[in-house]
């Protein structure tokens, strides 16, 4: 009995996934637990393993194909069994690279119909006769540089003809490329000095062709799009402020000690900052919101996202209903979502930027002292957490000492919040950090 392996549905919002790599090919034998293929959504990547032993009877897709979820991807069975009835869309021919329609538009026949970039006419000096224009367009001759031999320096057909005779031959591909790009070349590297397509694309004088072009992963594309859109479409600025970190460092020491005695929760400074943020957000509900252009969405609950650095790139998973959690609960949730991202097993729905109401990005571990995090729209603010540095402080009675301070960088969308509100909010986070309390 043949077993069909389908593209799993990863989360409610995912309609299709891209197969990054097949680990098995048709005819390979598989055992339960063998890796069949890796695939990715916009936001995360996953691996599909075999649930039965057998032989791969057929694979309906290739590496890089985008496959709708719940579609049959491959069939495992005993060799000899037919897999054809499982082929998506009936007995359609295997995906091939041959696409006649696509080709038609790629041939020069169609290319000739595309408008030829009109040469820039610098000054009134050279008028071009209609016949010359047609020929120049057909043969890709740059008329603006020609000295016309017609009346008043008008460029006429014979000027084009002599320009054609004088220049090196162009290959058919070079002609098509020149028409499309508008580039021209004076010397060629092809047969007997013919101008080839390569001659029309100017190589960089420093590195020539010594580089590698790699297509972006889907995830990179998404990050690029979201981050660029954020800076393009909002009015963001950042306020920096420090909080006395003595309290949380003390708590951290307590946690460490407690752990030596078997306490199960490794509550980190990041968890404590997270807790402080939740407390501050409760007091500043206008920050726990989405800016929708002509309206604002205010949330009753706090859904707190955490920026996580993974091998595949930046991921920002969310902890739902974070305001319901104790510090122990928050700590566990942060760890769970971070590990989920690193392993690639995170639910994609938790990665959507509109799933969170506020985000924390903590670079303190890396020694960053100040940065300007980028808001994950439509959220209205993001908190950057910096490293702890000793700062001089008036301890009273003219006595100065060094006190550890944790830097807080709040980027906010000035469309949604004003400077005063934002300042009061980040100050509130500092106050919460300085006065944090929890039971161990």
């Amino acid at each position: 009995m043949a077993t069909v392996v389908i593209m799993p549905k990863q989360g409610q919002s995912v309609e299709s996934c891209i197969i990054t790599l097949f680990n098995k090919k048709k005819g390979d034998s598989v055992q339960k637990g063998d890796l069949l293929f890796a695939y990715e959504t916009d936001k995360a990547s996953f691996e599909e393993t075999a649930t039965v032993d057998g032989t791969v009877l057929d694979i309906f897709f290739e590496d890089g194909d985008e496959v709708p979820v719940l579609t049959n991807v491959l069939v495992i069975g005993q060799s000899g069994e037919s897999a054809e009835e499982f082929r998506p869309g009936g007995a359609a021919p295997a995906p091939a690279h041959i696409e006649p329609e696509a080709l038609a538009s790629a041939t020069p026949i169609a290319a000739e119909k595309t408008p030829v970039p009109t040469p820039i006419n610098n000054g009134s000096s050279n008028a071009v006769s209609p016949r010359a224009k047609i020929l120049a367009a057909k043969e890709i001759v740059e008329t603006s540089t020609l000295q016309g031999s017609g009346p008043k320096g008008r460029v006429i057909e014979r000027d084009i003809l002599s320009a054609i005779a004088e220049r090196p031959k162009m290959t058919p591909l070079a002609k098509a490329e020149a028409k499309a790009s508008g580039n021209s070349a004076q010397a060629g590297s092809g047969l007997a000095g013919a101008i080839t397509a390569k001659d029309l694309t100017s190589a960089n004088p420093v590195y020539s062709s010594d580089y590698e072009v790699k297509p972006l992963t889907n995830m990179r594309k998404l990050i690029a799009k979201a981050m660029h859109a954020s800076l393009q479409n909002s009015a963001q600025l950042t306020h920096h402020l420090g909080a006395d970190a003595r309290r949380i460092l003390e708590l951290r020491e307590k946690v460490k000690k407690a752990m030596e005695n078997g306490y199960p929760n490794n509550i980190t400074l990041n968890d404590m900052v997270g807790m402080a943020v939740i407390k501050a957000l409760k007091k500043f509900p206008q920050v726990n919101s989405h800016f929708m252009g002509d309206s604002m969405k205010y949330f009753n609950k706090i859904h707190l996202a955490l920026a996580v650095d993974t091998d595949r790139g930046l991921m920002v998973p969310v902890v739902k209903n974070a305001d319901d959690l104790s510090i122990q609960g928050l700590s566990n949730q942060f760890k769970a979502i971070a590990n989920g991202c690193k392993k690639g097993s995170i639910d994609p729905d938790l990665l959507a930027s509109d799933a969170a109401t506020f985000t924390i990005s903590n670079l303190g571990n890396y020694g960053v002292e100040i940065f300007t995090p980028v808001i994950n729209l439509p959220q209205v603010a993001i908190l950057g957490v910096n490293t702890i540095v000793p700062r001089p402080k008036d301890l009273g009675n003219g006595c100065y000492g060094f006190v550890p301070y944790i830097g807080l960088s709040l980027t906010y969308d000035h469309r949604a919040l004003d400077g005063g509100e934002a300042t009061r909010f980040v100050k509130q986070i500092a106050i919460e950090i300085e006065n944090l309390e929890f039971e161990i």
Partner: protein, 451 residues
């Protein structure tokens, strides 16, 4: 004063000498063995001579498919080898007379580069000193013999392309380490005459660099003819006639009267004073730019010594590029239209990008392929035979990027695809070309129209 001194009289050196002589340069050519190099003496030509004997024998034995029956067909291994020697002698002499006709001075002896001064590059050979304005290094390549334990101790059981061509007796069994072009051509030859042939290849498929689908088809054909193939197998030890190899963690053995080592070739950059010039090397070969210049002014290199391509026709063209630039004709070496042929029966021929290469380089392409049977002439002349033609074109403009064929006589028609790639012809131009009917070459046209 010598305009151009050339070290090495193979397809790079003698062609460059001929062209330079024809253009009126004063040329001197140093060759320590025989003119023609590996190609003529221990490579292309002798193997093709032998393979033609094999093909003739095959045709006689299997003529019944065409209604021709020959009784008691026999062959004489000695005669086959003797004819090969005659062909080589004739062609080597031909190169010699070409050199004479183009006023090339040929010095038979080892050449050693002494250095470079205002007088030019100094080369010493047979006790004489020569000064040349320009030097072209064409010292070629030699078979790479890997340090397999026990290989040296196995003595004359071990053969390279050189020794196997001077066998006096046909081995009853032959183990071939390395299923590349050289390995497969010898496999084909000895298989035809009934030698038990085993091919051990380290990679997952034979004939790396050719179209993988066609390599696999050819392997199937030869497996049916009785050659045993072991892929993804790494030779670990040789003990006399016995070759041990590892496949998927297990160790196996294969035995042969003789063992052919054909795992690759290595540029010859030592023993002729190259170090006295300070020429830069790259991956074992001499580093050159697209006009075959080395890092030392007036010193050029062409052919296998550059360490890549390793084909006689590449070498000749590289030599020509050097001569053209020396004589005022701007010319650059292009490697995108170098054909590659494996002269098995049937032959595999290819030029330009394979699908594998296009994918690796992220070049957008479209592909069409047709069985050879679409050409009537192929059916007429290949009873029960199969083959394939595959054409790759650029996705945007439809320019020919690669053409690959499995079937006879693809070696004789692949040049048409070379011209199409060199001229950057697109499908539109190709469709207007008239092919002679009936020929196997029509498969190219058919495949063009299959897009």
């Amino acid at each position: 004063m010598i305009d151009l001194a050339i070290i090495g009289g193979g397809p790079a050196g003698y062609v460059a000498a001929e062209r330079a002589g024809a253009k009126g340069l004063t040329v001197i050519l140093f060759e320590k063995k025989e003119l023609g190099g590996v190609c003529l003496n221990e490579g292309c030509i002798p193997t093709k001579t032998l393979l033609y004997s094999a093909k003739t024998y095959d045709n006689a034995v299997h003529g019944d498919k065409y209604g021709i029956t020959a009784e008691n067909v026999t062959f004489d291994f000695g005669k086959i080898m003797a004819r090969k020697n005659k062909v080589v002698r004739k062609l080597v002499a031909g190169v010699g007379s070409k050199m004479k006709a183009h006023h090339v001075e040929v010095v038979k002896g080892e050449a050693v580069i002494k250095g470079r001064s205002q007088e030019g590059v100094e080369i010493v050979s047979e006790g004489n000193s020569y000064f040349a304005k320009n030097l072209l290094i064409c010292t070629g390549s030699e078979a790479f013999v890997p340090p397999i334990p026990g290989l040296k101790e196995s003595g004359d059981i071990i053969l390279t392309n050189r020794e196997i061509l001077s066998l006096n007796e046909q081995p009853k069994s032959l183990v071939i380490i390395g299923g590349g072009v050289i390995g497969m051509e010898f496999a084909s030859f000895f298989n035809s005459f009934g030698t038990k042939v085993t091919v051990i290849e380290m990679l997952p498929e034979i004939l790396t660099g050719m179209d993988t689908e066609m390599s696999a088809m050819l392997r199937d054909m030869y497996a049916k003819k009785g050659i045993e193939f072991y892929l993804s197998s790494k030779v670990t030890k040789i003990n006399g006639n016995e070759v041990s190899y590892e496949k998927e963690g297990q160790t196996f053995t294969a035995t042969g009267d003789k063992i052919l080592v054909s795992v690759g070739r290595r540029a010859v950059t030592q023993g002729f004073g190259l170090e006295n010039l300070g020429v830069e090397l790259l991956k074992g070969g001499i580093k050159v730019d697209e006009t075959m210049r080395t890092n030392v002014p007036n010193v050029f290199a062409a052919g296998d010594v550059t360490g890549f391509s390793l084909l006689a026709h590449t070498a000749s063209r590289e030599g020509e590029v050097v001569v053209n630039n020396l004589t005022g004709q701007k010319d650059v070496m292009r490697y995108n239209a170098i054909p590659g042929v494996v002269y098995t029966n049937p032959e595999i021929s290819g030029v330009g990008l394979t699908e594998e290469a296009a994918k690796a380089k992220n070049i957008p392409y479209k592909v069409a392929k047709l069985p050879m049977a679409y050409a009537g002439r192929f059916i007429a002349e290949n009873e029960g035979g199969s083959g394939l033609c595959k054409v790759l074109v650029g996705e945007k403009y439809g320019e020919i990027l690669g053409v690959h064929m499995l079937g006879n006589p693809s070696s004789e028609m692949i040049y048409g695809a070379c011209m199409a790639i060199e001229a950057e012809m697109t499908l539109k131009e190709m469709q207007e070309v008239v092919f002679p009917h009936p020929t196997v070459s029509e498969i190219f046209k058919e495949t063009i129209f299959a897009f």
